[in-house]
Amino acid sequence: MAGSQWELPPELCCRPMAFVALTGLDVVYNAVHRAIWDAFCANRRADRVPISFKVLPGDHEYPKCRTKRTSYEWYIPKGILKTSWMNKHLNLVPALVVLFYELDWDDPQWKEKQSECATKVEIVRTSLQGRNTKVAVVLIQKKTPLPPGEDLVASERASALCNACDLSGKSLFVLPHTDHLVGYIIRLENAFYEHAQTYYYTEIRRVKSHKEFLNKTTHQLLFVRHQFKIAFFSELKQDTQNTLYYTVYYKTAYSLVHELRAHETNMLEIKTMAGFINYKICRLCFQHNTPLDAIAQFRKHIDLCKKKIGSAELAFEHAAWMSKQFQSFGELFDEAIKLGLTAIQTQNPGFYYQQAACYSQDRKQLAQQLCYPSPDPLDTQSTGLDFYGQRPWRQGHQSIDPPDAEKEKTGILALQIKEKDVPHSELIIALLSNAVAQFKKYKCPRMKSHLMVQMGEEYYHAKDYTKAVKLLDYVMCDYRTERWWALLSAILSTALRCAYLMASVKDYIIYCMELQGRASTLKEEQKSRIEKNLMKVLLNEIPDPEPECDPSSVAAARLLWSDRMALVGSNEFTIEVQDYIPFIQCKAKFQSPSFHVDQPIQLQVLLKADCPHPVPFSKLAISLSNQEYNQWCVLESTGQDSMILSPGKTKCYNFNFVAKTEDVGKKIEVRGVFLMLGSDRGRCVFLSWRGAGGDAASTHEALQASRSSWRWVRGLEANQEPHWDSVSMQHSTMIISRVPKISVELNHQPPALCNEMYCLRLTVQSQEEGVAKDVRLTAGLKPGQDANLSQTTHVTLDGSVVCDDTAAALLPDIPLGDLKPGEKLEKCVYVKCVSTGLRVLLFHVAYSISTTVEGQHIICKCHKVNNVILWPVGFFFFFFGFFLFFQFEPLDRVAVDIPFLLMTDILSSSPWPLLLASSSLQLLTMTSNTKQPQSQLEQTVLQTGESASECFCLRCPPLTNSNNTVPTGQYLVSWRRQLSCSDAPLIHTTVTLPHVILESVPLYIYADLPSFGRVRESLPVRYHIENRTALVQEVEMAVEPSDAFMFSGLKQVRVRILPGSEQQMLYNYYPLMAGYQTLPQLSINLPRCSTTNAHSLRRFLPQRIFVKPQGRQLDDASIAAA
């Protein structure tokens, strides 16, 4: 019933639909009728015509129609709109009455039935006396009708029936009770709908016709009433073509309402009507998807009505009405959104709910001011109103002055008393939570918080402190993180009052703490009062009540507090202050980010109080990640005198302790700082900071402090105590091992060469004062590098032999024994790198030593690391070449079974001289032309950039398979550094020789000739020509003339050479000129074998020869004499 007076009537809020009454249906006992009725009312979707059906008995009494007024001349209206009117036309007066009657065209008792039907129609007509309601008859038939025009009996009887019932042909329907019932019903429905529209149309005409009788002076109310009726009827008519018509009608009605003369007595009536019409307009605007029109209309409505407060004594009524206006608009808006409208952040239903809540708050305040408790409650049970918005004690009265002043007074008093019982807070909270839901949807977190604060305050007023605190707590942290201190302080003050009234000790302490803190915007004296209260609570006394608390609640609170006091136990509270801004700030710092294990660890805790008076505390404790150290970090007051924090002053507390040797390499963290306020005798409160202190605001403050260099300088000048903001927290420290006092040196000769046993000489010298015990060396490839490196790097301590692939990449923990002070130790480590590329070697010397820190005897482990970067280089470059035996001409392919030369070149790029101990060939298919090929490089020393060559004469035996590429073999070199000691192992390097391409020649030709000739001395040259084919070869040979030689022999010859045999040709050349001379060219032609040309044969032959000048015996002697 709360606020029911202000609820909009349901008939206003529903969607008006044409009302059609169905009579003559027995839906209880007759199955056929039941089916028909179900077809009418079931499944009414939007695509069916908007009609509301009702089954009424045939003799139903419809509301009586009052006699029509012929003249309005002396008529004075009593009010605007009767409360019964809308309901009457929605549910009582039908637009059409349909009479259902079971009658077939070929019914044997046709005459009797016809007259019975006519009687029934007559009954209905009589009860509708004076109304324009249409009547229609539906004949329920068992047979399917024939197509129109074919059934002559039917048409004849139909017209007879129409005559008998006084119906037009259009009002008589036939409903065959067959399979297609729903289809027939829908057709019927549409026909009914047309009739209903006609009815409402005539109703509109009728109301409109009244207008001309009215005059502006006395009938103002009627103008509104008629306009409203027209609009309502046209809405009932549901004219789909002109949907905007009735909006226009309503708008006209709305402006007419505001033309009424308003005075105190009829203000409520005017506002009520204006509210109704406004509701209709807004609703229609939303329906027609013109939300902006709806909003504009609503704004206009509010602007017009805002100031129409009416009677000052009943001002709360206005507030209630305004609240309802906003609420119902918000609901309409919300409903439209559910149907698909999109709202935006700045225009959503939330604003309307919020405003509604706002007016409800006004209403509550006004009610509190205006409604005094009255000793004489008046019976206000009114039996209902005739007109909307009138006073029950003077209904229908329209004059400016109330008819009875006394009655008016008691009436107002009664309303005021009634208002007192209204649960305002409930209404307000409901509206606010509606608004909260909306603002959540439209991304307004701050608006949401604000509304929640209001809700919390409302709960506080409603004395539901638990809920209030819950809500306020929830939003407090938003305001805290956004740093709106003024708002936070206001919320905290409310929360503190709640906590006081509930006697919730922990909450009370928390709020007190924060209200005294630096973020609070309270005045100094308030802070001081709160601090005093807090001290009382700590002493287990009752705190003074908060100001602005209701005295009666204070009394109740006192009782609660004394109950709390009596309670033994539960007097210890731990408060996590991290998320608040408490009145004591704390920062803990290790003096250094790391400490050596042989140094004491220094931890400093800084505390600062922001409250107006000094705060005593009884204990300060720190929890560290290793609990064993906690015992060293406790500060407890001894006896009576407790430690005191002065307001605004920073206090420093230092703690020293020795780390355990097991913790080397670990971090020590401050897990929390605890400060105990109060004592065991009263209450004790532990303020607990997670980590190294700091609270919700300190991060920002530290940031600001770091930005401001100026302030820091000022802090230095003061120099007395550290400037709070510039102190940074150091919440963890690393314990690192003691600094080793030994030297580790490495001697080696970079670069390392691939495959060699690279020697690194390690020298460890102790500079310790005591004995370094258990010295251990870890040497090898530093872990964490490329995985391939560990496969290609091998470390060993034995340098006498070349290590194989099984040697490890890292040798861990090689014991080196103890080292006395000043003693020196050497060790050689050999590294073999199979591949080139950078790698880091690690040399890690660890030992333990005992030492004393702050009187404690500890054994420290020390270690020293030396890293070496190796970049092994490939230092040999091999070149191979194949050459013709005589001519040293490079060959790209090797002829089968013809000797050729293999040349090897070794180029050294090593910065160190290298000793080549030996070299050898390991041949595969090839055979050596010489018996036992001897290494030509034995014991050769190669300097940087020098190269060593070898030459081997090889021959490729004829191969059976057709492969024309064959592997040659491998070349093996044994070497070491020249400077390394002689017992250093030799290193063997193997290189695979390139493959050769084979070719077979049909004819092989070679020449026997001396290595040089002499001018004018005979030079015999024998050419051997071998036939390598299985055929007889015919060879044409000719020697071409040459300037440098005379010759004797066959100049041109044609010979036949049998397969496998050889032909020799002997020439005697006679050189004429000294120096390199081109031999006379031997041109060879194979007429039978055209594939081999002369040129390919000619390359086997020497082209030139060196001719020495003629010897001069005399000259030689003279030269010798000289």
Binding site: R483, L487, L703, Q704, W710
Partner: protein
Amino acid sequence: MAVCIAVIAKENYPLYIRSVPTQNELKFHYTVHTSLDVVEEKISAVGKALGDQRELYLGLLYPTEDYKVYGYVTNSKVKFVIVVDSSNTSLRDNEIRSMFRKLHNSFTDVMCNPFHNPGDPIQSKAFDGIVSGMMVQTG
């Protein structure tokens, strides 16, 4: 003329709030704070579309029953909010704009002060003067 003028830091905490003393100061704090919802929304909407070239003046943020709240955001995301009485219909958009410009200029002067630490509440007589000039004169 304004009934409340506020400067809000980039991180949305107040740097400066002044309201006419006759009315509930706390209410204005709430009004300004809630208006930040709209400011944030507008900034993020514009940020996506135009990048740097945006209008600093955000216009009417939202109308309440009693007040109109206008917003302005500098390039460094410092927000200015001016609250005007709804009944004060004489104020045009242009005048609001010029108020914001004046406020921005004065704010820039404050920032130029080497002794001012950006992010700290504004304590400047000159700024106070400018704000007072824009407030509704009471009494």
